[in-house]
Symmetry: C2
Subunit: 196 residues, 2 copies
């Protein structure tokens, strides 16, 4: 029966760091700690394990796990001959990142995009509204581009995506070269490169 005392120092440090950081993210302290614990655990944990290790009430753990499930950050497992539910984090950290990014997008970005799209359909009735719409259009376009690009990257397999990330500088060079060849319009550039 491992309680917080039994968490080795390294593990304890990691868990409590995630607790503190949790608040800077949207996530709360408890949920952060629960996830950290699951993440570094060599095997799946059940709710009682977690409650004991972190000295949280059982109900708090239940809520925390529900929250983590809604973020799709934990996987549910069952041990043969044990009715309790066991939770584990994906083995692949890239997978974790991808899911996290997807969820944040769904919760934090999509609603804003909808709102902006709605607002941009309205006919402005004053200079104040006209200017506001102008700004909203700029914002919408930026977010939209970021998301389209993110979609593309997200489709890559982890390995390929990791490669892509090692290549920022190189990609720049490619772009500069293409620029010289094709002129500067992004649309034109995209069209040209896609035709290859």
């Amino acid at each position: 029966m491992p309680n917080r005392e039994n968490l080795p120092p390294l593990n304890r440090q990691f868990v409590s760091h995630f607790g503190e950081m949790g608040s800077r993210w949207g996530i709360n302290r408890t949920v952060g700690q629960i996830y950290a614990l699951i993440f570094i655990s060599p095997h799946a944990l059940n709710a009682d394990d977690i409650a004991e290790a972190l000295e949280f009430s059982r109900s708090n753990v239940s809520m925390g796990l529900k929250e983590l499930q809604s973020w799709r950050l934990v996987k549910l497992r069952h041990q043969p001959g044990d009715r309790r539910e066991y939770f584990e984090a994906p083995a692949d950290v890239w997978e974790i990142f991808r899911v996290l990014a997807e969820e944040r997008r769904r919760r934090e970005i999509e609603p804003t995009l909808s709102m902006l799209r709605m607002a941009l359909l309205e006919a402005p009735t004053s200079d104040a509204e006209r200017h506001a719409q102008e700004r909203m259009k700029e914002m919408h376009e930026l977010i939209d581009r970021l998301m389209t690009w993110f979609d593309d990257v997200q489709k890559l397999a982890p390995e390929t995506a990791m490669q892509l990330m090692g290549m920022g500088a190189t990609v720049t060079k490619v772009l500069e070269f293409k620029d010289r060849m094709t002129g500067k319009s992004p649309a034109k550039l995209a069209a040209t490169t896609k035709d290859n």
Copy 2:
């Protein structure tokens, strides 16, 4: 003297959306609304303008502006013959995104990287610690790569970065091609492409 009533519907909608979203971000409702108001305003605003438009107390606005300044999201201006400070958002939305990303990195990622680096220097004294370190190493590597790549992209001028984002699919193709040519090791790939 514009108060909240005088905010046209479109502007009001935008402002209150940012208030609600603010909480999903780390930022609070008030700060979100203040920034939204500044962002869509055609001219710089002073603290009294903001307090009046949003019906917040003057001190609340003061705190909110301080917060926004700490995020480097507002620029300070002075009107000739007026002692009050006026605030505005950068005209370039890409600039806003860049600053936001930098600050989030500094506040939310760097501390975690340091913690991980520290933890990875310790000699594990049990299997639990050994496994935890293994996981931390994976996490550290992922974050480290993401950041290096982000540095590269961030160095690009806005225009070029926007182009890059239009190119996700194309970049994938380039990588797949390089793969076939050079074998799959990321290190090898990076070396090869950088040598060009």
